[in-house]
């Protein structure tokens, strides 16, 4: 066994950290805090200029062909810096899908501006009646001459307010098993019949409900085969494999709290970190942070070695659940000051811990709920029968 990070990955990770440190100004964070939109165009373009939006794409498809360990390093740094990277994640995933499945026209019209950092997509998977059961999507796409007419509603369409297209899962066949009647489209957000309703969430982050009322598009916007949406979904999942999102959020939280408790003194001039009950709780969070980090590294390593099983699910489940425990423990440490939000002048650590407690519930839902991860682990790691 060798726990040393290989030099190429370490060098890449330093480059990412340097770029993020340069761009993540207080003004940028202020803007994100007030808009709730976890995307910043100057930062996004800088990442595009470095070519990292194409990091996951194979070289022969015009990408950088970076392996799972370097992709994990990229997302680790984005999380460690608490960067607003939803647009980056969407762009990378759609670039990966279009690189593999896109038509020549789609590569020109969509992939090129995405990789240039000029446009981002948003994702239209969830619906009012289908979340974890994503294959139950009912938004209808119906043939209309050479094109399609789409009608329905999507939930949690984050970044719809900034996106040029929605990458949308639709129902094209109701006569077959649910996952065999799905088709993906890239729908231009400016198309007549689309409306966007903003939704503010518990953490202050903005998402949207998007409505599609007889939206007419040409067939050239279809991604993959008609009724072949599930195969497209599998390509999307293969991008995510090895990159277990949410495993480094706990490290960002820990680093912030450590700095605050080290630099802040009580009325007797002692650093807050000197109190036994405080340091004990922080040390316990440090332990979970290391476990999350190792599980994330293991998921990336297993994907790089070509032998991934459920390492990503195990890392995601542990990392995001540990984040919630950490946020709760650390908020306790702050006592009444933990009530203060980022808008209060004397909020400890700029209100980061208070925010974390409100952010925690979505981490164990987005990208596959803890229950879905447990289903996967029960079936595939433990060999127990399918239970749903």
């Amino acid at each position: 066994m060798d726990f040393a990070i290989d030099p190429a990955t370490a060098a890449f990770e330093r480059d990412v950290a340097d770029l993020l440190a340069r761009h993540l100004t207080p003004q940028l964070r202020e803007r994100v805090h007030h808009s709730g939109t976890h995307h910043d165009w100057p930062l996004h373009r800088a990442i595009a200029s470095a070519g990292w939006l194409a990091a996951a794409l194979p070289v022969d498809l015009g990408g950088q062909g970076r392996g799972p360990e370097q992709l994990a390093a990229l997302f680790r740094q984005l999380e460690l810096h608490s960067a607003p990277y939803d647009g980056v994640a969407n762009a990378m995933m759609i670039a990966f899908i279009l690189g593999h499945l896109g038509t020549p026209w789609q590569r020109d019209a969509v992939l090129a501006p995405i990789l240039a950092g000029d446009a981002i997509p948003c994702l239209g998977y969830s619906e009012p009646e289908s979340g974890s059961d994503v294959a139950a999507a009912s938004t209808a796409a119906v043939r209309d001459g050479d094109g399609w007419v789409i009608s329905g509603q999507k939930m949690f369409t984050s970044l719809a307010e900034e996106a040029s297209w929605v990458f949308m899962l639709t129902r094209t066949n109701t006569e077959v098993a649910k996952h065999r009647g799905l088709t993906f489209f890239l729908v231009p957000m400016g198309t007549a019949g689309i409306s966007v309703t903003p939704v503010r969430t518990l953490s202050g982050k903005r998402t949207n409900i998007t409505f599609y009322d007889g939206v007419r598009i040409e067939d050239k916007w279809r991604v993959g085969d008609v009724d072949g949406g599930w195969q497209v979904m599998l390509v999307a999942l293969s991008f995510e494999r090895g990159v277990a999102g949410g495993v480094s959020d706990i490290a960002a939280l820990y680093n912030t709290m450590l700095a605050y408790l080290t630099d802040t003194t009580d009325e007797h001039g002692h650093a807050l970190l000197e109190a036994p009950s405080v340091r004990a709780r922080l040390a316990r969070v440090a332990t979970d942070k290391e476990i999350a980090d190792l599980l994330g590294a293991r998921a990336a390593w297993a994907a790089a070695a070509g032998i991934p099983r459920q390492e990503g699910a195990e890392a995601k489940l542990f990392g995001t659940e540990a984040y919630g425990r950490a946020a709760s423990r650390l908020l306790d440490v702050l006592g009444p000051l933990g009530l203060l939000t980022a808008d209060a002048e004397n909020a400890p650590a700029g209100g980061v811990i208070e925010h974390a407690y409100r952010y925690a519930p979505i981490l164990t839902v987005a990208g596959g709920t803890s229950e879905i991860q447990k289903n996967l682990i029960a079936e595939r790691t433990l060999g127990l029968p399918r239970s749903r």
Binding site: M1, F3, A283, A286, T381
Partner: protein, 334 residues
């Protein structure tokens, strides 16, 4: 980064997984319940060289590192072995590092195990791990590192975990060293004990998990295996990730020690101990619950794991004190 065992490491892992599976059935564990020690198993284990695997060949050892010891401890934990392999490996490394010739010879021969007291003591060391069966006990007096030899009592202080703990008199103990270097050597040994105990707890937890997974597929209620119920599946599905994480942490700790990263080693060893202590409790209490009433019956093996998960790490002290110790390593003394 490469998270696969090397061929040599895999050979050690395979060898000792097979050894303990063959030599340490639940019947062996049950047979040693009162004393917490099986002399036949100890003799066979010392024939393999496991007890001195991590000291130099020139001293009669196996020439391996702490990493090999971690693999052996995890394999031992899987079968809740009634032999003090963790203590003996740690003491062999300690006396080897001190160059204590007579003690090294004794450690290599291993007719009887050697152990260490985990807390400083004078006069009598209390509740010494393997104190009931060890021919020699190393104790830190607060100023001097002592070696107390003598026939072991071969009677354990009655305890809930089937452990061979006993008090040992320090009368006639010889001095192995004093001052800062001796203090550091002792602290290092206790850190290595933390690590190897953590590895043993990882093995214990993993074996208990799979015992439970097997049982819930056999046990039927309402006409189906109880393992088909999501309530039970989800309780079990929370466990493989943390077990894998704890295993990686024990191995990284050993890797750091073998690569002379002392600070990283001490932190990882302490974290591994804190985490594996909680984990082994969580796993065994959950699994024993899924056995239902049978879990409480002595004839089922779940209780063997449940009691040891608690008792093994408790030999060091209050877990909260261990978190405090970790905080000292991370944030400096108060």
């Amino acid at each position: 980064m490469n998270l696969d065992l090397t061929d040599d490491q895999a050979a050690v892992d395979d060898l000792f997984r097979a050894f303990f599976a063959r030599e340490c059935s639940p019947a062996v564990v049950r047979g040693a319940e009162r004393l917490g020690f099986d002399p036949v198993l100890w003799a066979r284990l010392s024939e393999t060289g496991a007890h001195v695997v991590a000291i130099p060949e020139a001293l009669g050892g196996g020439g391996g590192g702490l990493f090999d010891a971690v693999l052996i401890a995890e394999a031992a934990g899987r079968h809740v072995v009634p032999v003090p392999i963790v203590e003996h490996v740690v003491v062999a490394r300690l006396v080897a590092s001190l160059g204590a010739a007579v003690a090294i010879e004794e450690a290599v021969i291993a007719a009887a195990p050697m152990t260490l007291a985990l807390r400083p003591a004078a006069g009598t060391a209390t509740l010494v791990p393997a104190g009931a069966v060890a021919a020699a006990v190393i104790v830190w007096s607060g100023e001097r590192l002592l070696l107390a030899r003598g026939d072991p009592p071969m009677v354990a202080t009655p305890n809930g975990a089937g452990l061979p703990v006993a008090d040992r008199s320090l009368d006639g103990a010889t001095v192995l060293g004093d001052g800062d270097s001796a203090a550091q050597a002792y602290a290092q040994a206790v850190d290595e004990w933390r690590l190897l105990m953590a590895a043993a707890l990882v093995g214990l937890a993993d074996a208990a998990l799979w015992m439970g997974v097997g049982y819930v597929q056999e046990r039927r209620q309402f006409g189906v295996p109880i393992g088909s119920f999501q309530a039970i599946q989800h309780g079990l599905a929370e466990l493989p990730g943390p077990i894998s994480g704890a295993r990686l942490l024990t191995r990284r700790a050993a890797w750091r020690r073998d690569h002379d990263d002392e600070v990283g080693f001490r932190r990882d060893a302490s974290m591994a101990f804190v985490f594996a202590t909680e984990l082994a409790r969580t796993v065994t209490s959950r699994v024993i619950h899924y056995y239902g009433g049978y879990g409480a019956m002595e004839e089922y093996d779940a209780q063997l794991y449940y009691r040891r998960a608690r008792g093994w790490p408790a030999q060091l002290g209050d877990p909260y004190g261990e978190v405090d110790h970790l905080a000292g390593l991370l944030y400096g003394p108060v």
